[in-house]
């Protein structure tokens, strides 16, 4: 199960990266802090870097090295116009999907047609048979 959760998180992480950058530029570490919020992020922090490099290659984000007043320079990422558009489309799609998933997880209140009832019965039988 743990594996499945990780997989799901990783898929969403890409959207979270675009979302954070939508609000302002970030370097890798600050991006992780922003996404995970106050809590410690459960996924391995390093996994953000392959995502960033993929987004760079797709030209959804751009990067720039900026001197830090403390310590080594930081690589700041920000959205490109193409990235802004991608974020809008993806986040709208995500809301739709999330709504669908939430709905699908609920018990059907009324099965309107005979056919639907039949399907449910068959499913039940299959379950009982296990």
């Amino acid at each position: 199960m743990e594996n499945k959760i990780t997989q799901l998180r990783k898929g969403i992480l890409e959207l979270a990266v675009l979302g954070s950058l939508h609000h302002g530029s970030h370097y890798g570490y600050s991006l992780i802090r922003t996404i995970s919020g106050e809590s410690e992020l459960d996924i391995t922090e390093g996994t953000i870097y392959p995502i960033l490099s993929r987004l760079l290659k797709e030209e959804l984000i751009k990067a720039e090295w900026v001197e830090s007043n403390q310590g080594p320079p930081r690589k700041y990422y920000s959205l490109t116009p193409k990235g802004e558009r991608a974020y809008e489309i993806l986040s709208a799609e995500f809301s739709k999907l999330a709504a669908t998933v939430a709905h699908a997880g609920k018990k059907p209140e009324k099965s309107s047609s005979e056919e639907e009832k039949k399907v449910l019965e068959v499913k039940k039988e299959a379950k009982d048979g296990e």
Binding site: M1, Y27, Y49, P50, G71
Partner: protein, 230 residues
């Protein structure tokens, strides 16, 4: 590189970055440097924010959260892909394409045997390739040396009889020697270029080899009973 840290911490960071660098072989030097620099920056920032008292404990915690070098590079690409990096050389691409095409389909034993056959064929091709490159190089060198000797002493080969013939490209002996020198030089340059190109071929072979091994391992794993999710 890791000189922003105290001695023992710097050692640990350096060791980590070194292991990271090993995973990056095959990538262009510039990309390698860039990623190393970025991860170094990450480690620095993460280290600065953590409040663990003991510095060694702190750096170990930071690196643990960051994950293994393989995680930093990619969680999705197979190690062979990572090794191959971003170099998109055409012959490599074709090889990789064939391998991936075989692999996109759920791979059975037949796929593996095809890969193995392909691998052996490529090895044979590679061997003959190097043989040609090597002999071109050697012939070129010998030709150059002989040409220079003849330039110095035109009658050098006269006494050697019909078995050692100097090619007559021109009636003028000196010009002839110079021409042979040039031809020999070209031959050896071609040899060197072939040898140099060979390293890409080697990289392709390595990639295929890793891919094959991975697939065989994956195949054996798939046959074991799977753990079911609740």
């Amino acid at each position: 590189m890791a000189n922003d840290f105290s001695e023992p911490v710097a050692k640990i960071v350096e060791n980590y970055l070194m292991r990271l660098k090993q995973h990056l072989r095959g990538l262009p030097e510039k990309d390698q440097q860039e990623l190393i620099k970025e991860i170094h920056s990450h480690i620095y920032e993460s280290f600065r924010e953590d409040s663990t008292e003991n510095e060694v404990d702190r750096i170990l915690k930071v690196l643990d959260k960051l994950g293994e070098p393989a995680d930093v590079i990619s969680s999705r690409m197979s190690p062979a892909m990572v090794q191959m990096g971003k170099k998109k050389k055409l012959p490599l691409y074709i090889l990789a394409g064939v391998a991936i095409a075989l692999f996109g389909v759920p791979l059975g034993l037949s796929g593996i045997s095809i890969l193995l056959a392909l691998f052996i064929t490529i090895l044979a091709l590679l061997a003959s390739y190097y043989l040609i490159a090597g002999s071109l190089l050697v012939c070129g060198w010998i030709g150059m040396i002989v040409s220079i000797l003849v330039l110095i002493n035109p009658s050098l080969l006269d006494g050697l009889g019909p078995y050692v013939q100097f090619p007559s490209l021109s009636s003028d002996l000196t010009l002839n020697a110079i021409l042979s020198l040039v031809v020999s030089a070209i031959l050896s340059i071609v040899g060197i270029v072939l040898l140099w190109l060979g390293k890409y071929a080697i990289r392709g072979i390595k990639f295929l080899f890793n891919l094959t091994l991975e697939k065989i391992r994956g195949f054996r794993k798939r046959r074991r009973p799977q753990v079911q999710y609740a």
